[in-house]
């Protein structure tokens, strides 16, 4: 199946993902990453962090979902890379919101590169977040 028709620079998806402490505990269990900086304020503070942080791999994992949804079975994610530039602090009461914007970076014979802009609390949290998509 062919990829959907796109052009370079096109915004293909924009989504907001609310995260609360429950989401962090769920990811800890599902992934096996039980580092307490992701659910204990006292431990986070003791190592100098501004608060309990979302797992970087949770942020990476959810940030690609708008692309998967957009592909809708017409293609698949054949490569995905990010830099962790800034942590997502998840407040016990207020939680946090991660915003993902996915735009077309490159189109080539193999498929396309989708570039993700991922932010929380007004700052970019993933750098060089690029998704390689290929026709199925």
């Amino acid at each position: 199946m062919a990829l959907p028709t796109i052009e370079v620079g096109q915004l293909i998806a924009e989504r907001e993902y609310p995260l609360d402490r429950g989401a962090l505990v769920r990811y800890a269990g599902a992934s096996g990453d039980l580092n307490p900086i992701h659910y204990r304020d006292d431990v986070a503070a003791s190592v100098g962090l501004p608060g309990v942080l979302a797992h970087g791999m949770l942020t990476m994992g959810l940030a690609v979902q708008p692309v998967v949804d957009w592909l809708d079975g017409h293609g698949w994610v054949s490569g995905y890379g990010v830099r962790f530039t800034r942590p997502v602090v998840v407040d016990a009461a207020e939680g946090a919101t991660v915003t993902v914007r996915a735009t077309v970076g490159v189109i080539d014979d193999a498929g396309a590169r989708i570039d993700l802009s991922v932010s929380a609390a007004g700052g970019t949290v993933l750098g060089k977040a690029q998704v390689r998509v290929s026709a199925l």
Partner: protein
Amino acid sequence: MNPSLVEREFPPTAPYLVGREKVREFARAVLATAPLHHDVAVARAAGFADVVAPPTFPVVVQEATLAQLLAEPDGGIDFSRVVHGEQRFDYVRPVVAGDELTATLRVTSVKSLGGNSMVTAESSIVDGAGALVVTAVSTLVVRGDDA
């Protein structure tokens, strides 16, 4: 950090059998709602043997190789100072439920930058037939004493 980590050989991890409910559980945890991750009939109609794992699922298998790296007695990596710097996955095909995956670690670079050290670890993840499924690459930053 010990630069000789780069030449070291690490044994393959114990085989990891990817369960259907594990795929669904991981998908819920990363807010992945696409039917391919949850509905066997949808996955099969798209040509897959079973539900498809979300793109970052291989980290669950890769984690065992990073544990090997951090456990090297002469590696000089203090876990409490490790920060995840970069991550990437290059897939030959998506992981699906029923796959039995084995990962083998290779350290591709050890660098010093300012007071910090950086180690890049590449884990080749193969299926039960020995065919490569995905390569997972992590760059870990180990903060120096003053950082």
